[in-house]
Amino acid sequence: MHIPTTLPLVRRAVLVLAVLLAAPMLMARPAAAANVAESFVGDNVNKGLQILNDKKLTTAQRRDQFEGFLLSLVDVRRVALFTLGQYRRTAPPDDVEAFVAAFKNYAVAAYQSYFARYTDQTLKVTGSTQRSPTDYIVQTQLIDPGSNQQPLEVDFRVRTDTGKPVLVDVAVSGIWLSLEERDQFVAFLGQNNGNVRTLISHLSELAVNLGKPAQ
């Protein structure tokens, strides 16, 4: 007699317990994922700044190390395809692949050029915003210890949909680099009949020039 009444009670108790135990875990999932994105940025970007700041490295060593470091963090292919805008759909597949390769060289040179100006500074993660379950904006500040000026706000866009976090964009004072690149490339292609080969040769020249010291 007791069995039919106690079993549902036990089941109910187990179910309630399971829900109580699971609820915090379910609620904690976005925060935990945000922490993954924040840790990813906090740990890695300071490593990148250290490479650029390492006075023992020669220019070639610094470039090679920074390239390896950057390519391990950034989903360059994804960014490259985004920057092609509507021309991604109309360009021949071979041209698109050649563009991705040229963009990789350009991005390494451009990022190195941008971040070389901040080598003496340290990065502090200040928070993050979740745009979707796999899309985060991690907010940081670049702090210059030798200056009393306000820290520079730098945001990183991190995607986690491939299983591990990857960087897809960076914004300095609210200006997103990939958006700016897409706007330029689309304008350039519009002026050149959508010829991706012309853009590739232009990007290759720029990558070489960016590797040289500024005049």
Binding site: R78, V79, F82, A109, A110, S113, Y114, R117, T129, R131, D135, I137, Q139, N148, Q149, Q150, E153, D155, R157, R159, V168, D169, A171, S173, G174, I175, W176, S178, L179, E180, D183, Q184, F185, V186, A187, F188, G190, Q191, L199, H202, L203, L206, N209, L210, A214
Partner: protein
């Protein structure tokens, strides 16, 4: 000051009128329309003109400024000019209903004008009252005015009808324009000149970096300007909400 600023505002008005004349003869391309830049051809010409002014007049004087005025002096000039613009920033804070930021602007003006010796020093930042910018172009945006087509103004650079109108209103609102004294014209000219020097000295490396890394400098500037203005209008809030998917 008033004369120079009236000239500036007049040029803005002229630039607003010119595109309307230009559009009758040169139809904009599909890309230009998609980029909300129907006057691209004329804008590119204006950017070239501004580039020549920059190269042959502004950069050489910025070079001299760097040589003749050491870094602490340049910082003091920057602080002083920033302090002069605080009354206008305060009014725009209030117009936008940003009471806390308005209080910061007022507090900064009082502290930096007194303890900061006329604004040459910035003790307010050390006291935890950071500075911020605000202008009537942003106020118009907060009030719901649309940006309109992209414009490049002679001498002033990237803009839009909304921002050009804002520049004109800020000029009229600036209380320092209504202080008259004997050598007013020299003070006015000096302020404009040092504002230009300070701005270019602050942005020299950034502009050089953009020029070196751009596939198309014009469209790069257009994108940077629009993104920066959006960020300024949002006052740094709601980050990344309207970003496209990758």
């Amino acid at each position: 000051m008033r004369g120079l600023r009236v000239l500036a505002v007049g040029l803005c008005g002229l630039m607003l009128a010119l595109p309307l004349a230009g559009c009758a003869t040169t139809p904009p391309s599909a890309e230009a329309l998609a980029a909300r830049d129907p006057y691209e051809g004329m804008n590119r010409q204006t950017l070239k003109f501004n580039g020549k002014i920059d190269r042959y007049f502004v950069i050489p004087t910025v070079g001299l400024y760097f040589i003749l005025v050491p870094e602490p002096g340049r910082r003091a000039v920057h602080n002083f000019l920033g302090n002069l613009s605080l009354p206008t920033i305060f009014v725009n804070d209030m117009f936008q209903g940003e009471l806390k930021r308005g209080a910061q602007s007022a507090g900064r003006f009082v502290i930096n004008t007194t303890i900061g010796l006329g604004g040459f020093f910035d003790p307010a930042t050390r006291m935890g009252i950071p500075g911020h910018g605000e202008d009537f172009g942003q106020t118009l945006a907060v009030w719901g005015a649309k940006e309109g087509p992209y414009l490049v103004l002679p001498f002033f650079g990237p803009s839009s009808p909304r921002d050009a109108a804002g520049l004109a209103v800020d000029t009229v609102m600036d209380p320092t324009n209504y202080i008259h004294f004997k050598q007013h014209i020299w003070w006015a000219a000096g302020r404009e000149y040092f504002t230009l020097l300070d701005l270019r000295a602050q942005t020299y490396q950034t502009v050089q970096s953009i020029q070196r890394s751009s596939v198309d400098y014009y469209s790069s500037l257009r994108s940077l300007y629009r993104q920066l203005r959006e960020e300024q209008i949002r006052n740094g809030r709601a980050k990344g909400q309207d970003l496209p998917d990758f």
